[in-house]
C-alpha cells in the first residue's frame, strides 16, 4: 500500500497544515521513495500524524535518522546519568516519570522545568542551530488533557499586514532556555550549566530551505530583540505570538497510544496542554533532527 496523506486541518486559504499519513510501518527500514514522500509531506503540511506505530526506542531512533543527525537533548545534557530514566540522551523524556518509573512529586524540580513545555515554543531554538524535525511517540497517554497543539508559523507570517512584515523582516532575536523558564519563575539549572543558557541569535523571519516560504520564528525562549529595549521587545513578541497562535492557525492533537507525530520546528510552534500529571501517566518520547544551518550569522555575533 503506498503512502498517502490526508489533510487534517483544512483552512480557508487552501494551504494545508497537518496531515495524517497512512500506508506506512515506520518500525521497518524505509525505502528512499518512502523517505522522500514523508519529506514532501512535511514540506507541505509541516506536521504529520502517523497512527498505530508501536515503536521501541531503538526503532524510533533508526526511523528518525532517515531525516538527518539526531540532536542531543538539553535536559539530558544537564542531568546526571543516574537521574535519567531513558538510557540515550538522544531521546527526550517527555513524561511525568522519575528514573524508577514513579510519578514525579508536585514540587519536583524536573517537573517545574518541564512546565515550560506549556509555553508556545520551537524545539531547540535556544541553540545556534535550532532543530529541524521533531518526532514524538506516545507510549502512555493520560485519560484527559495533555494534548499537543501546533501553530502554523507560515500562515501566521502570511497573515501579517505589509507594514508589520516590513518592520520585522530583518529583526534578530535572542533565545535562551533561561528566558522561557524565567517566565514561569524557574531558574534552578544546577552548577556547571551556565554555558547551556547563554543566549543565541536567530532571525525573526526565516525562509524554509525547500519551499522558500517565509515563516515567523517565534518561541517562548525569546528574551529580546537586538537593538530594542527589552520590555518593548517582549511586549512586541507577545503580540506577535498571540497573532501567530490564534485559533485559525492552531491544530490540537489528541493523543492515542502509538501515535507518532512529526513536526518541522522551522515552520511551527507547539505546546503541551495541562493534564492531571499527579495522577495520570503520560509517557512520550521525542527525537529531534539537527537543523541544517543557523538563521543568523553566529560568527558575526561572536565577533562583536
Amino acid at each position: 500500500m503506498p503512502i498517502s496523506i490526508r489533510p487534517l486541518h483544512p483552512r480557508p486559504d487552501g494551504l494545508p497544515f497537518v496531515g495524517e499519513v497512512t500506508g506506512i510501518d515506520v518500525s521497518r527500514p524505509l525505502t528512499g521513495d518512502e523517505v522522500a514522500a514523508i519529506e514532501a509531506g512535511m514540506d507541505r503540511h509541516a506536521v504529520l500524524v502517523v497512527r498505530d506505530q508501536p515503536l521501541t526506542d531503538e526503532q524510533q531512533c533508526v526511523f528518525s535518522r532517515n531525516f538527518g543527525e539526531l540532536e542531543v537533548t538539553l535536559i539530558g545534557q544537564m542531568t546526571r546519568p543516574e537521574d535519567r530514566r531513558l538510557a540515550s540522551i538522544e531521546l527526550g523524556d517527555i513524561s511525568n516519570l522519575d528514573p524508577k518509573g514513579g510519578l514525579r512529586a508536585r514540587d519536583d524540580g524536573r517537573r517545574m522545568y518541564a512546565l515550560g513545555n506549556r509555553l508556545w515554543h520551537s524545539d531547540a531554538s535556544f541553540r545556534a542551530v535550532g532543530a529541524g524535525y521533531s518526532l514524538l511517540s506516545a507510549r502512555v497517554v493520560p485519560g484527559r488533557g495533555g494534548n499537543t497543539e501546533f501553530a502554523d508559523m507560515r500562515a501566521a507570517y502570511d497573515a501579517l499586514d505589509n507594514a508589520t512584515k516590513a518592520e520585522i523582516e530583518d529583526l534578530v532575536t535572542e533565545h535562551s532556555i533561561a528566558f522561557s523558564r524565567a517566565q514561569l519563575g524557574f531558574d534552578n539549572y544546577g552548577p556547571g550549566n551556565e554555558d547551556k543558557i547563554r543566549p543565541v541569535r536567530h532571525r525573526l523571519v526565516r525562509t524554509h530551505p525547500v519551499t522558500g516560504r517565509k515563516s515567523l520564528y517565534l518561541s517562548a525562549h525569546i528574551g529580546g530583540i537586538i537593538g530594542w529595549p527589552v520590555p518593548e521587545a517582549l511586549g512586541f513578541i507577545r503580540d506577535l505570538t498571540e497573532h501567530a497562535t490564534q485559533p485559525d492557525f492552531v491544530h490540537a492533537h489528541v493523543w492515542r497510544v502509538n501515535d507518532l507525530v512529526i513536526w518541522d520546528n522551522r515552520t511551527t510552534m507547539h505546546r503541551a496542554r495541562r493534564y492531571n500529571d499527579l495522577r495520570d501517566v503520560r509517557d512520550l518520547r521525542r527525537t529531534s533532527i539537527k537543523g541544517a544551518g543557523p538563521t543568523f550569522a553566529q560568527v558575526l555575533a561572536a565577533a562583536e
Binding site: R181, L184, G185, E232, L234, R273
Partner: protein, 295 residues
C-alpha cells in the same frame, strides 16, 4: 434628559448617551450609571470635552479616589497631572514625548499586558475612568475582557478547582514579565505582594468573575511555575475574542470600567506621536482575601 444605553458588544460594554460631563451630574444620574456599570461593566461616553477638574468631580460621584502617587515610579515634582490622576500618556512634565529607552515609558509598557487596575493593592480599585485627550492615529486601542463571561464559560471541574484559590499580586511580577527589573529598593518596598481571591463576587450584581491580572506571580499553596502556567491558561481562556471588546479611541471619549469584573490592556501604537490619556480611579471598599500578617 434620560440616560440612554446602546450595547457595543454581544457580551458586555455599552455606549451611554444623554449626559454632559462638563456639567455637574445629578445623584440620580450617578445612580443610573452605577446600575448600568453593574450590568455592562464598560461604559463609553462620547464627545466629553472635560477639564481635569470636571473629570475629578464626576469620578468622585462614585466614591473616594485613589491617589496614584506611591504606587508607580514617578516621583513628586515629576508629575504632569494632579496626584489623583494616573498619567497614561507618553509625555513628561514638559509635555515632551518620552524617549524610546525612557524608564517610565518602559515601565508603562506593562499596560500592554491584560490587567485589572490596582489589583496589587490590598483593597483594589472599583472603577477606572479614562479620558482620551489626544488619541493615537493608528493603534492604541484599549481592549476589555469580561471576566464574568469568562468565569461562566469554565467547565464545572475548573470552577470547583478555582473557587477558593488565592493569588499574590504585585507590580513587580507584571514588570518582570516584560523583563523590566530596574526598580529601586524603595520602589520594591511599595510593591510588596498582596493577596486576592481568584474568584470574586460583585457586590451589586452578585455575579461571579475571574479576578485575573498580569500582576499575579504566585498562588498560595502552589509551586510557582505550576501556578503561572495555570494562570496563563486561564488568562488565555478569559481573553478569547468572544469576551473582548476593543475600544477604538476618538478624541474626548471617556470610558468607565469596573475593575471587579473586567481586565483591560492597551495595544501598541506609534510611540513617536502624542497619546494623552488621563485616568482617575475610584477606590474599592473591601479586600477580596485576608492578607498575610507576616508580609
Amino acid at each position: 434628559m434620560a440616560l440612554t444605553l446602546h450595547p457595543l458588544h454581544p457580551v458586555f460594554a455599552a455606549e451611554v448617551g444623554g449626559v454632559d460631563l462638563t456639567q455637574p451630574v445629578a445623584p440620580e444620574t450617578i445612580a443610573a450609571i452605577e446600575a448600568a456599570a453593574a450590568v455592562h461593566a464598560v461604559l463609553v461616553f462620547r464627545d466629553q470635552r472635560i477639564t481635569d477638574d470636571q473629570q475629578l468631580d464626576f469620578s468622585r460621584g462614585f466614591g473616594a479616589l485613589e491617589e496614584t502617587r506611591g504606587t508607580g515610579i514617578s516621583k513628586p515634582g515629576e508629575q504632569r497631572l494632579h496626584p489623583a490622576f494616573a498619567d497614561v500618556s507618553n509625555l513628561d512634565i514638559n509635555n515632551t514625548i518620552l524617549a524610546r529607552d525612557n524608564r517610565r515609558r518602559l515601565y508603562s509598557l506593562g499596560n500592554m499586558l491584560w490587567h485589572s487596575d490596582s489589583s496589587f493593592k490590598a483593597v483594589p480599585a472599583k472603577y477606572s475612568l479614562l479620558s482620551g485627550r489626544v488619541v493615537a492615529d493608528r493603534g492604541g486601542d484599549t481592549e476589555f475582557a469580561d471576566m464574568r463571561a469568562a468565569y461562566d464559560a469554565l467547565d464545572d471541574a475548573t470552577k470547583a478547582e478555582v473557587e477558593d484559590l488565592v493569588c499574590e499580586h504585585s507590580l513587580i511580577y507584571s514588570r518582570e514579565t516584560l523583563g523590566f527589573d530596574d526598580l529601586t529598593e524603595a520602589e520594591r518596598a511599595t510593591m510588596r505582594p498582596v493577596r486576592q481571591r481568584l474568584v470574586r463576587t460583585h457586590p451589586a450584581s452578585g455575579s461571579k468573575s475571574l479576578y485575573l491580572a498580569s500582576h499575579i506571580g504566585k498562588m498560595i499553596g502552589w509551586p510557582v511555575p505550576e501556578a503561572r502556567a495555570f494562570i496563563r491558561d486561564l488568562t488565555e481562556h478569559a481573553t478569547q475574542r468572544r469576551f473582548v471588546y476593543a475600544h477604538h479611541w476618538r478624541p474626548f471619549d471617556l470610558v468607565l470600567w469596573d475593575n471587579r469584573t473586567t481586565m483591560h490592556r492597551v495595544r501598541r501604537y506609534d510611540a513617536t506621536q502624542v497619546r494623552d490619556m488621563r485616568r482617575t480611579t475610584v477606590a474599592g471598599t473591601a479586600e477580596t482575601a485576608a492578607q498575610d500578617a507576616a508580609a
